[in-house]
Subunit: 286 residues, 4 copies
């Protein structure tokens, strides 16, 4: 038996890029957080400290800024693809590049004035090898709430069950979602806007008997609306809102007054997939 | 000489209240974080552990929820005033109540469906004694950016100065502001919306030679638009965006590509005041 | 083609349990954050909202607290195994349970007095099915720094490389590590203490030419010291400390004065494995 | 009436300084977060954008790094005093400097190896004008817990009170404390160590009927042990640990199993003062 090096990768995480495109008086703002992870034949640096195949992570950071100028930033999926292809094609030691980008939204206030939105963060995650290119898009921090149209009952009760069944509750979640594209070409902006709209619409329109049912509705409706997607993965924390017992104060509480809980929270995770889609070439997890 | 008890207060912090008002099919959502601090003759519990004057903080929490049902929540300033008056008038040991509320915004998606906004948090801070009521409103987490129309030069240089002067830079800040009302009556919703609009407008419209100049413009414009306000206090972090030096790569950077820095940051704090306004009856700091 | 449900799981996350064991006057404190994820035949709730197989996550929370009393908490790996076995053996719909625990350390100040440590968080992650039990332990938030004995040079330079080579730098990282046990029996406390000691010792004693070299040294030394372990996975952010250029002030900087950077940071991830160990039965990622 | 500029200040916040002192093979590490706020005659920049009196905050940052080399860092109170005096004495526009420093602790692992502690952060806050120098030290993030020797009863009950009285509970808090020194000279390291020891000892040794009683005990004991201090201010969140009701499961809970709550929390704030101490020359809070 021996002790050996297993899978590994390295890169620069969280390079913060703000890019201003000037179209006369009117400016456009792009605000990204770019993370790069490269893998390949990197045994030498691990075993002997020989760095002859280790492009510095500082160079990766520089490349992000230089590409922003040379090629423009554009949509995050496209920017990530350009970066990934660059590293795989120019670094002989590297056979896989994984780029993830967080994109922060800004609302226009004037020709060169902006207010940061905080209602969601757009995500892109791209993996490139010599053989394939896989593009995943997503969203995080999208917090949705239905103040009714949610029930929860019919569940098994064991010795430790005390939860009362309910026919009317608040259902709230902070959506963390990723969806895999069938190809590495696309109308990235349109696809993202459409998927976000589909997720939000399905959440609002689903009469829910469980957050799992809502999850499946969100994923399946998104796939039905977006033929360019192979699968959708969702992680939905159940942001519990506890009905306050007002009876000690001689008051009734007809689903009006709630405690917004922090922890613990339910966590519902699931995948909805097109059954004829090719499997993911590179493993990924939400 | 002796060791003695000085100023003190106590209360329940961060009671999370979500309230649903049902107007037929259409629901309205209020999402608050309420903190209560009471002061008065509280020496006994400090010195001997005699709690006969110490209303439990758990009771304060219960009061928040019960009031939400009994009186409705309404605007945060009004809800804070009701809570503060209640504690001062019912607890003989207590002569001052200070209530602060954070209010989180939600955008309507449907009759009972909502998406949480993240572009700012509304604040209310109320202090009530037998003699007076002071109402302060505010905002935090409002992040604004001008991609041009900002210069910085003409400053003193000492031995430690290396900063180059600039005639064009990004100016960005996360506004943390509080404004004091002249009276404890008001159209709280209208006043908040107006002040927020004034702050945002002044930021966007000010051609800036320093963040201090922008701060003063924001405060003075807000006072000019809102006659119900006595003063405005602002804490404006200068969220630095560093121009990337692309010359090693043979590229120019005409204010297009920036590093968004985390730390350190400039911090500009200031007050703009109506010179005939009565001074704050109770001290407060942003 | 059809849209179908793919892999899924659900559970209660972040149940906060503090347990006090009283041995006469002397108390012992256990402080855990327990997360539970169950998977199995859960299609019905997703597709139709039929919850007949969905044990409420509230029940999972109750089970954590009841088990703490009934069985005692003990070591986190053992507590997680008990919980996981319970859910798999009692819920017919469930064929896999994944339990993760964060354990927070407290230092004793007296027989019933404690001060919370903050130098690391201990982790346990257990997966149980009918066929197997997999135990992973780990640590997060362990921040280590060598103020010398670190070099970085000999790396490839491309068009975007500007980093100067260095023969003396600060090497700092916040260790995030997981190690897989060969069996589901063990001296969990002794194993954790030994692995932590091995990781820390290897970091301090390795003269480093790259953080990758340090990573491999940490993993391989830990395996060499702990025969009960199959593999070690490490994610090591390179917490950059930038040498300040003091030359504009007429000063030299002999590796004395540094800027501690926030973002971006290098991120080095790798696995060190015993080559005759059976592969992980259940996939896991750091 | 007119709208005018009120109190204001500006500076550089959160300059992160790591300094390595080399005594042969043995290194010593200092890890600080330095924030600077200057005030004086700054009307011009606010009103007209005239920056002739505005030393750039970038220069303040440079000064921190240059002073670390030129003068050494030493104790944070001393380093803060040197910086404050420098700005007041060299900038004609500035009449007051307020410097705050957070100091992070590291434990030695070897001659040049360190592990970051996380059990508390040391604080220094210094205010310097032409007339006076005020030094405040403090601590934050010091989390303490007594698993017994805490009661809470005898409090008033109103219509909204539901809390049961208790003769045995967990008392836990995250200490946020500041103490004012009588002079600007001192054995800063010894004073801090002594104050920290006094606070911790008093917490552990006080049989508590309220967190207020514990607060007063902590403050008064610290003053009794440290003659160099004028006053101690404490903000103590009551980190509630709720006894779990295990009776639905047929189990008793003799103060063994607790839920560690996040929000809401009690917040107890108070000052303990030497009655013959001169008042604070410059207002400060906490």
């Amino acid at each position: 038996m021996a002790i050996v090096l297993g899978p590994n990768r390295y890169g620069k995480a969280e390079t913060r890029l703000v890019s201003v495109a000037r179209d006369g008086e009117t400016h456009t703002l792009t605000d990204l957080n770019v993370s790069i992870a490269l893998s390949g034949d990197l045994a030498a640096t691990h075993l002997t400290g020989d760095n002859s195949g280790v492009l510095p992570t500082d160079t990766m950071k520089n490349t992000v800024y230089a590409f922003a100028k040379e090629r423009g930033v554009g949509e995050p999926e496209q920017f990530a693809l350009q970066l990934a292809r660059h590293f795989v094609s120019t670094q002989s030691q590297i056979d896989k590049a994984h780029i993830t980008i967080e994109a922060y939204g800004w609302e226009r206030l004037g020709p060169h004035s902006f207010q940061r939105r905080g209602d969601h963060t757009r995500l892109a995650a791209v993996t490139v090898t010599a053989e394939q290119e896989q593009v995943v898009s997503g969203v995080t921090g999208l917090t949705l709430l239905n103040s009714t149209a949610s029930e929860f009952h019919g569940y098994p009760k064991d010795r430790y069950t005390t939860l009362p069944e309910t026919r009317d509750r608040i259902l709230a979640t902070a959506v963390d979602a990723r969806w895999r594209h069938l190809t590495a070409d696309g109308d990235w902006a349109g696809s993202f806007a459409g998927a976000l709209e589909a997720l939000t619409t399905a959440f609002a329109n689903t009469y829910s008997h469980s957050l799992q049912q809502t999850l499946y509705a969100m994923g399946s409706y998104t796939l039905s609306q977006r033929p360019e997607l192979a699968e959708v993965r969702l992680a939905l924390p159940n942001k519990h809102h506890y009905l306050v017992d007002l009876s000690p104060f001689g008051l009734t509480n007809d689903n009006e007054v709630f405690i917004a809980g922090d922890r613990p929270y339910g966590l519902i995770e699931g995948t909805v997939i097109r059954d004829d889609a090719p499997p993911a070439g590179v493993e990924w997890y939400l």
